[in-house]
Amino acid sequence: MYYPKVRTSIKLLVYGVLIIWSIYCILPLYWVFTSAFKPVAETRSFPPTLIPKHPTLLNFVKVATGSFGLQPFINSIIISLGCAFVAIVISALAGYGFSRFRFRGRRPLLLSLLIVNFIPLLAILIPIYRTFVLYGLYDTYLALIIMDGIRIAPFCTWLMLGFYESIPYTLEEAAMLDGCSRLRALWHVVFPLVSPGIAAVAIFAYLEGWNDFTLAVILTSSERIRPYTVQLFKLIGERSFVQWNELSAASFMAVVPVLIAFGIFQKHFVSGLTRGAIKE
């Protein structure tokens, strides 16, 4: 807001509120992350220690070699990459279609994409579960890749549409007049220009697959397919006594790569999000 002189007391108050909210945001994760480096006895002690007294990497070794295993992480990577691939292909094509062609039913279709966010996933998953069991898609990577990819595709299409709209049509037209086919023009002229959009779609879709629990808990049953989210849940559920330190190490391994990727791409991330969420 435009006010040249702001009293110091007000500034302090503003910083105070923002810092308190930041602590609230960090606190639960901080506790999980530090517990990942604490020996078992220390995680059960009261009062909890702010900084691990005897930091250890043993918890990570236990996660990798114990009942958690590395397989759930590998599964999550496969599912997330697949989801990103599906979302990129679908939304790069559809975004182009919506941007460059004025076909009948275009506006109603674009609008109906916005409805998808309001459809409760669980409600859809009951018929999906039955269909997938009956047609042999249950407990496969493909089931999760398709469902994760389709679920995020409408949002990604809106995102891509925004990027295509920012590129003048004359560029492809020139290429096509020079004898390029439309697909060649799309591949060689348009795609390189919308690559930030494709990057944003890839991050969003990867994150969607990586964080998904609801789809996976319903559509998987074997440890061979199960992503880390479901493995975490099963281990908390099946044991009456929770091994906080091991589960914290697993959570640490799940969240830290996302944080790093996010740190690198955060500019695309935030602009992409608000761009797709609010279109005027």
Binding site: M1, Y3, L114, I124, R130, T131, V270
Partner: protein, 302 residues
């Protein structure tokens, strides 16, 4: 005449090609969104058990009758009451706090804006199940950090997740942890769409900061607030993983919001028919929200 004809044929081929490009999206949504949506209507009139999934027996509206007349938990008295409290509290807090934080982050003199924003994004990019698990850890009654912090100011330890009177508050606090960030982002985008000149003009006309907030910022932010309200309502209404990972709807169904109820009926009790009926109920509420959203959403540019 000839020219007109050829122009028209280009137009038609362009249209047909447009359908080609959007067809993977439309086919995907049709098969994996629209079809299950219709299938859930059909399934809600059948008795289908998880253990014997091929068998579907038509039983009319019995699933709905059983759902609406069930006791312990009663559908309207417990499940829906809990859902409304949960959604109402979370949405009000998430949109309200989101507005407040977005206003603070928008001060021109603020330093470290990007740092604050990135910290606020942490909960939002954390998987729902890890969010639920982290908060379980914080709430743990014997070793949790929350009871420790409260003991420093002389408050007795509480059973945050097993005391039926406290658990709703606990899951609301955990849910707004994850949900508020989205509001901050949307409303920041809204605030940035308001040109500085308006504030400068108001300032030279002698408006106080409070007056420009009430008479400039809030009216211009209203569409963003409204859209934010609807998306948060839809999102909170469908919240599942973070709550289920924390409490599994317990203790004694005291946090069993509608989505957990649907899951329990279908996949814990193994009655897909009732699950589909509950799901249909969720879908109808979701579609009502979606229609309001579409009415509010203006397709100006496209």
């Amino acid at each position: 005449m000839f020219a007109q004809g050829s122009k028209k044929s280009i137009q038609i081929s362009k249209n047909a090609m447009g359908y080609l490009f959007v067809s993977p999206l439309i086919i995907g949504l049709g098969l994996f969104m629209a079809y299950p949506l219709l299938d859930s209507i059909r399934m809600s009139f059948f008795k289908i058990e998880l253990m014997n999934i091929r068998l579907a027996t038509f039983i009319g509206i019995k699933n709905f009758v059983r759902m609406f007349t069930s006791t312990e938990p009663s559908f309207w008295g417990d499940t829906m009451r809990i859902t409304v409290i949960f959604v109402g509290a979370c949405v009000a807090l998430q949109v309200g706090i989101g507005l407040g934080l977005a206003l603070l982050l928008n001060f021109k003199w603020l330093k470290g804006r990007i740092i604050f924003r990135n910290i606020f994004l942490l909960p939002w990019i954390t998987a729902g199940v890890i969010c639920g698990y982290s908060w379980r850890f914080v709430y743990n009654s014997s070793t949790g950090v929350l009871n420790y912090l409260l003991s420093l100011v002389g408050i007795a330890p509480q059973a945050w997740l097993s005391n039926p009177n406290l658990v709703m508050l606990s899951i609301i606090i955990a849910n707004i942890w994850k949900g508020t960030t989205y509001s901050v982002l949307i409303q920041t985008a809204g605030l940035q769409s308001i040109p500085d000149e308006i504030y400068e003009a108001a300032y030279t006309d002698g408006a106080s900061p409070w007056q420009s907030l009430i008479h400039i910022t809030l009216p211009l932010l209203a569409p963003f607030l409204f859209i934010n309200l609807l998306t948060e309502t839809g999102d909170t209404f469908n919240a599942f993983d973070r709550i289920y990972a924390m409490t599994r709807g317990g203790p004694l169904h005291s946090t069993e919001i509608l989505s957990i109820y649907t899951y329990r009926q279908a996949f814990v009790h193994g009655d897909l028919g009732i699950g589909a009926a509950a799901g249909l109920f969720q879908i109808i509420i979701g579609l009502i929200l979606a229609i309001i959203y579409l009415k509010a959403f203006r397709l100006r540019a496209y």
